[in-house]
Symmetry: C2
Subunit: 318 residues, 2 copies
């Protein structure tokens, strides 16, 4: 059997993917507290928001302030989502460490989500790359190929089209690419098949997997992706996010359950699960009207966990 | 990477492991309807109840009737749980196809659950084997080594003790053994490690994995176990069961989510997921006071599932 990597990165996307899709607008001070405590728990990559027009997404209107705050935490990789060049220019201005461009492999979803075809988005990625290079910025450009396992609008998304989009994103100048199961259609079979092929094309530039837990398979999908060499996963504290097409369904893989699984498997995440759970315990008060997910927050750590989890990184935090 | 088996068996244990731990007493006619519809959906192994004193577990008092009913369905493997020789004698009398003896590897759990030490249970297994052989019955004797990944009472359960119990069960005359994560402590790391070792000891006699979804890892654990060659899994419709030590936590892996995952991976289960979901849709009416689990029942099948799932077995059902 294939051996697993020795480390894994859990990138927190709850502040972006989670908060964008729920009604509650979390105050900026709260978001800063979330970022600080996630950092203190050991998280070293956080997607703090999106540069989209505030009238479209008032929940994320404070993204520039959050980038500024988060950049004050040494060693934290601060990323933002940008839908287009204009958003990318703002990300470059504020000096985000990484900007993430979603590229939907589903033609129908791309039009519905960004009012652009996949090829128009690819052209925009090339413009974003030019803007980055001209600015002299070192901001990493990451493209998340979304609806990579199917689409609630168009249904099947051919694997060939997903891989074509990924290759085109790299050709247009993306530094890294990832594959996202935007609507929670993926299972371990499709994950293994697609990530293996994507790996053979993109090599180490394939650097992220993004799973939604809509059908309860997010962690099994992570398990399958690990075996194809993926070591970096998006996740959302409390599994927030949901999906408008699947009432009651979870959003992203929940960060705390994912960290628990990875550490149980002997993969170092650098994250202190008890501190992360203490932060998770704040969410019901912060988001009182939202449905939260995640099994660990309900069931607690096993009695046996102390001996299995890696040591806290207290010395790194100060 | 290791290839997966081409088929897998999902044994329904909701009527036993599920119903024993909830308050509602389902009428016998309802249980028969459940068994019939599970069978029509393609399930070919069902644990219909336990032979325990009715005063201790009134929910399962109709087990003999259920065995008689279920034996009328051609090709269905009908199993019952028995805690001791007396229960086994009843299972032999009614001609169950298989009887399952739980053997807790946790000394503390064994005393709490059966008022016997593991070694006393092992001696009882030998007596059950003798009784079976004397009776001329072909009832299969299966031992489920429980608390194999830890125990809520004693905490750690040494792997060595789990393997010793398993070997002793085989030596005492069990035809098959399985490993059960009774309290939902297992993760894919421990699953892989323990099942690999158990396989090297028991070979093909190691024939079942039983996971609880208490910490959201049941399906990831199945994924890990598949890679060690396990092809048979216990599961419970609607994930019923729960755990008194983990309020709000799920019980067994939910049958419908498990079938969905296995079929997505290309493993033939023989189960028509749409029929199984139609049966699952009855549970809220049958068990109105119970918390039900499972993501698929909330989110529905993906738009893309028709082309991915295997064909219904209508021709086998008549």
């Amino acid at each position: 059997m294939k051996s697993f990597p020795s480390r894994a990165i859990v990138r927190e996307v709850g502040l972006r993917d989670g908060l964008q899709s729920i009604r509650t607008i979390l105050p900026t001070a709260r978001k800063c507290e979330w970022i600080r405590r996630a950092y203190e728990a050991g998280q070293r990559e956080i997607e703090v928001g999106s540069f989209v027009p505030a009238r479209l997404m008032p929940q994320l209107a404070d993204t520039a302030e959050l980038v500024a705050y988060a950049k004050g935490l040494p060693g934290l990789v601060v990323s933002v989502l940008v839908p287009n060049l204009k958003g990318a220019e703002r990300a470059l201005e504020v000096g985000a460490h990484a900007l993430l461009v979603p590229l939907s492999a589903s033609h129908a979803h791309s039009l519905a989500n960004l009012r652009r075809t996949p090829d128009e988005v690819i052209a925009e990625i090339a413009r974003i790359r030019s803007a980055r290079d001209v600015s002299g910025s070192r901001t990493r450009i990451e493209v998340g190929v979304s609806t990579a396992f199917g689409c609630t609008i168009q249904g099947e998304v051919p694997q060939q089209e997903v891989l074509r989009c990924m290759q085109a994103a790299l050709d247009a100048g993306a530094d890294q690419v990832g594959l996202a199961d935007t609507v929670g259609y993926a299972g371990p079979g499709a994950v293994r098949a697609l990530f293996e092929k994507a790996r053979s094309i993109a090599g180490q530039a394939l650097a992220c997997a993004h799973f939604h837990d809509t059908r309860g398979l997010a962690l099994a999908n992570v398990h399958a992706a690990l075996e194809t060499g993926i070591e970096r996963f998006d996740a959302s504290l409390g599994g927030i996010g949901g999906c408008p097409h699947a009432p009651g369904a979870s959003g992203n893989a929940s960060s705390e359950d994912l960290v628990f699984m990875l550490e149980e498997m002997g993969l170092q995440t650098g994250i202190d699960i008890e501190r992360l759970l203490a932060l998770r315990a704040q969410l019901p008060a912060w988001l009182p009207d939202e449905t939260l997910h995640g099994a660990l927050a309900r069931a607690g750590l096993p009695k046996t966990s102390a001996t299995r989890m890696s040591a806290p990184l207290a010395s790194e935090i100060q």
